[in-house]
Symmetry: C2
Subunit: 241 residues, 2 copies
DNA sequence: GTACTATGTGTGATATGGACACGAAGAACG
DNA sequence: CGTTCTTCGTGTCCATATCACACATAGTAC
């Protein structure tokens, strides 16, 4: 069976015989968004400071209620925009659903977590505090403040997923501006994986995958030898190999 | 912020200023379970036949309401047992959350899908119809009936995940009895991947991973040359490489 | 023109993955 | 007891991918 009971409840115990969405208590559904970007060669997460109970004064992921008439992904986009003023998430993917019983002190809340990626310099730390968020900013991943709810666990899960996807997809495009140098691309990989990579091997591998196009121009200034600019052939995730 | 609004709703529009879980309509939350097993060298899914509207008479995944005081995973286990009489899911993992607006004709339903694995011969097709399911049985994956709701999509997603995980984890243990031959193990892989594998390469690779232990005994009867029995060193998923 | 710094390039050693064929062990049968 | 049948169990070679590793080049700054 599925989804909901109607005439005959087969879910034992506390469910009714007739379907009536308000006849018994429901868990509530929210979305939370883990937005990553790379700023100054550090992987950063977007957090908002809570202005209200519970966890008032603590930092948390942007997120909130899913409306009755709204797709999950649309809710994630909306909360991101409303709470942080950030419009363009270049990549958004469902991460995991967190529903542990005690995770919210108010009531049973089941949260569908998403993770988002955006280009570093482009999506500068320019948060617009929302109605119940007193602040919003990007935090380097290695110096996060204590977080509300189970949001540290959600971020850990998101980071693991990002690291994994970096290996078998081209999601890195979403963390870079349209044109970039191979060194910049490599830095994104190093920042996310947390280790250095060999330049020659990295370039060889990237170029052999055939997902990058060289642009005619060269890199602007730099005070040193100019670098070739590249762009991703497709600005959407591609599975590699 | 996160999860729910309290004093000051920052979710615009249709949400209230004060937190009251029943003051406005909620999406409902269910779990659906995609249970796989291997029967007679075919990959099978456990389905139940619906006895009630909507989709009366159609087959669907086992599933139902998440209770207020119940963990998501517990709900998945419970629905599986209640609707199909199957007690032992050797492996259960969250798959994805399906929440498209029109997926359930009754109301907005957000379903957290799980996928489960169990050993073939052990978990024989022995369903116990539940209260609103008129039947339950294992269906070979390549001859599924038309399915209720978006359950075909859920099964497709589950199959993709299973195929992927077979490649980088040891989940196959959950589809086999405690002791098995390498040929049986290979057959599980072939059935799931939908293609044949080379015997020598398969054995070489499996044995080199160090996750299998040979048992002292040999295979029972068989009317041919007896095969060595193996067991997984750990009956839990292990990441390979 | 000299110093500085980031760019850009190739080879060899090693590990991995895939193709491929045949002798051995036991049961069934005459 | 020997012949037949069927499944078990094994090793080599080749192609490809991975990793470690060093130096000349093109600009800017002074």
């Amino acid at each position: 069976m599925c989804d909901m009971d109607t005439k005959n409840a087969r879910v034992s115990g506390d469910t009714p015989d007739t379907y009536d969405p308000d006849a018994f208590p429901h868990p509530s559904v929210t979305v939370d968004v883990v937005a990553f970007t790379s700023l100054e060669d550090r992987l950063c997460v977007l957090l908002v400071e809570r202005g209200i109970w519970p966890f008032e004064g603590m930092w948390a992921l942007p997120g909130g209620f899913v409306r009755m008439d709204e797709e999950l992904e649309a809710a994630a986009h909306r909360e991101l925009t409303e709470e942080t003023g950030i419009a363009e998430a270049h990549y958004l993917e469902q991460l995991f659903t967190f529903g542990a019983i005690g995770r919210d002190p108010r009531t049973r809340v089941i949260s569908v977590a998403y993770f988002a990626l955006m280009p570093g310099p482009a999506s500068e730390c320019r948060p617009l505090p929302g109605t119940d968020a007193v602040a919003a900013r990007w935090w380097p991943l290695d110096e996060l403040p204590p977080l509300a709810f189970d949001h540290q666990e959600i971020i850990d899960t998101a980071l693991a997923r990002l690291r994994a996807k970096l290996g078998y997809t081209s999601v890195a495009y979403a963390l870079l501006p349209e044109e970039f140098t191979l060194t910049e691309l490599q830095t994104v990989y190093e920042v996310i994986l947390g280790r250095t990579l060999d330049k020659r091997n990295f370039r060889k591998k990237m170029l052999s995958m055939g997902i990058l196009d060289a642009t005619p121009r060269q890199k602007r200034a730099g005070a040193h030898r100019p670098a070739q600019l590249y762009r991703f052939t497709r600005r959407e995730p591609v599975f590699l190999d």
